[in-house]
């Protein structure tokens, strides 16, 4: 499963700048959606349904539940598009924040210790699946490359939290590191990731 992770990036696929169009499009789409434009919602769906379902699935795991949560997220975009404020961040960030938060809410509601342990035992599998899925497209390749530029602890802290849906204290327990350390590694790791990806 680890083979190919260290191949040089960009061997295949379109050059930089390809992939999803500029974020301005998404903001414009959201404002059309806010006015009840169903065609715009369809276009929005084409743009975000894959990443929304992907991130929900990474956290929730069960395909049926993931579809349920992802559909709630997409309907929320339709319902609350008027609340999107481009002054407070990009459309992509707004959509993905909503999706991730929903997924995390779902897995955290009513959890018990035993379940935590089982999830924890399987988290290594989850991480590998995610990293393996991050192989083909350019966006994935960029993210993978930037994740690789983090220190081991930064990367594990970020990916266990994001793809595993754990709190920073739980991540600390999983990694056997002090909670304060994980907290700062998450921030440092995300800052490095942000700078590497060139997003602001």
């Amino acid at each position: 499963m680890t083979e190919g992770r260290d191949k040089p990036a960009g061997a295949a696929g379109p050059g930089p700048g390809a992939g999803p169009g500029p974020d301005a499009d998404l903001a414009a789409l959201l404002s059309r959606v806010a006015r009840g434009d169903e065609r715009a919602f369809e276009l929005l769906y084409e743009r975000v349904a894959g990443p929304v379902l992907g991130v929900v699935r990474a956290v929730v795991r069960d395909p049926a539940q993931s579809e349920e949560v992802a559909q709630e997220v997409l309907l929320d975009l339709w319902r609350t598009a008027s609340r999107f404020d481009a002054g407070r961040g990009s459309g992509v960030a707004w959509v993905m924040t909503l999706a991730h938060r929903r997924a995390v809410d779902r897995v955290r509601s009513e959890q018990k210790n035993t379940e935590r342990e089982l999830r924890a035992a399987l988290s290594a599998i989850a991480y590998d699946e995610v990293t393996e899925a991050v192989e083909t497209r350019l966006e994935r390749e960029r993210v993978r490359r930037c994740l690789a530029s983090l220190t081991g602890l930064q990367r594990e802290s970020v990916t266990l939290a994001y793809y595993g849906g754990y709190t920073y204290r739980e991540v600390a327990g999983l990694l056997g590191v002090a909670a304060g350390t994980v907290k700062t590694r998450m921030r440092d790791g995300l800052i490095r990731l942000r700078d590497c990806l060139g997003v602001e």
């Binding site: 009840g36 990474a58 609340r83 089982l118 290594a124 800052i191």
Partner: protein, 253 residues
């Protein structure tokens, strides 16, 4: 940068990753309200986490697309916020629905079923063609999916926790352990089924993952009155336990 609560401020990364409890989130959001620099930072970090989401994209089915677009057409939209507090993120609905064991079991089983589908080997008819890893995944999925699946946990006396999911119907159990005390290289943990007529070896535990997790391991062939035991044995494994059990977990009937 205003570091009124510099300790709080270091939560920025965890907050952007949703890796905080509801209480921490509320505290941090109060802090955000009075800290423009922090809001700026969160904005940037959210752009980064959004790319993590994009990197995990999967292709939803055509049925999903149709159902979602149809549902949108039937859903009333919220008006914009005209005055009052600045537009916050979309309202969050707390999902009270319980999905403890059944949901988890379904999730794990589904994840493994994906493996089975990908390898084109689902269903008992294909059992004989499975390699050991596929058979193991198949059995794990069967145990977790079984209507009589039961989860048991116990402390290991030298440290750590053992978790067992068992099904009499499948006649197997799935064993996992967390945070076991590390052993010298010459020793390994050995798993046993300990019945009224003695102990049967059930496998050597593999090395722990980076996160301190061991397993899942599959043990088949359960007998009435079995307990799950764990001992420290020489690394090559023993036919009979030579050390006192560090775990004694009674299976349900």
């Amino acid at each position: 940068m205003r570091l009124r609560g510099s300790d709080l401020h270091t939560l920025a990364g965890a907050y952007a990753l949703d890796a905080v409890t509801d209480a921490d989130r509320a505290r941090f959001e109060r802090h955000l309200a009075g800290c423009e620099a922090c809001r700026q930072e969160i904005r940037g970090l959210r752009e980064a986490t959004a790319r993590l989401a994009a990197a995990s994209a999967v292709q939803p089915s055509a049925a999903f697309r149709e159902a979602t677009l149809r549902a949108a057409g039937r859903t009333r939209q919220l008006p914009p916020v005209v005055r009052g507090r600045a537009a916050a993120g979309p309202a969050r609905r707390r999902l009270a629905r319980r999905w403890w064991l059944p949901g988890l079991v379904a999730g794990v089983a589904a994840a493994l079923a994906v493996i089975a589908v990908v390898t084109g080997l689902i269903g008992p008819a294909a059992r004989h063609q499975m390699d050991p890893a596929q058979l193991r995944n198949h059995t794990i999925a069967a145990v977790l999916n079984a209507p009589d699946a039961t989860m048991l946990t116990a402390k290991v006396s030298t440290g750590g926790t053992a978790t067992v999911v068992m099904s009499h119907r499948v006649d197997a159990l799935v064993f996992m352990a967390a945070h076991l005390r590390p052993l010298p290289a010459a020793d390994r943990y050995e798993l046993w089924l300990m019945g009224p007529r003695g102990a049967r070896p059930a496998g050597m535990l593999p090395a722990a993952s980076r996160a301190g997790m061991v397993g899942p391991m599959v043990v088949s062939g359960l007998a009435a009155g079995d307990r799950v035991g764990l001992t420290v044995e020489p690394a090559m494994g023993m036919r009979r336990p030579t050390a006192p059990p560090l775990l004694d977990l009674r299976l349900t009937r």
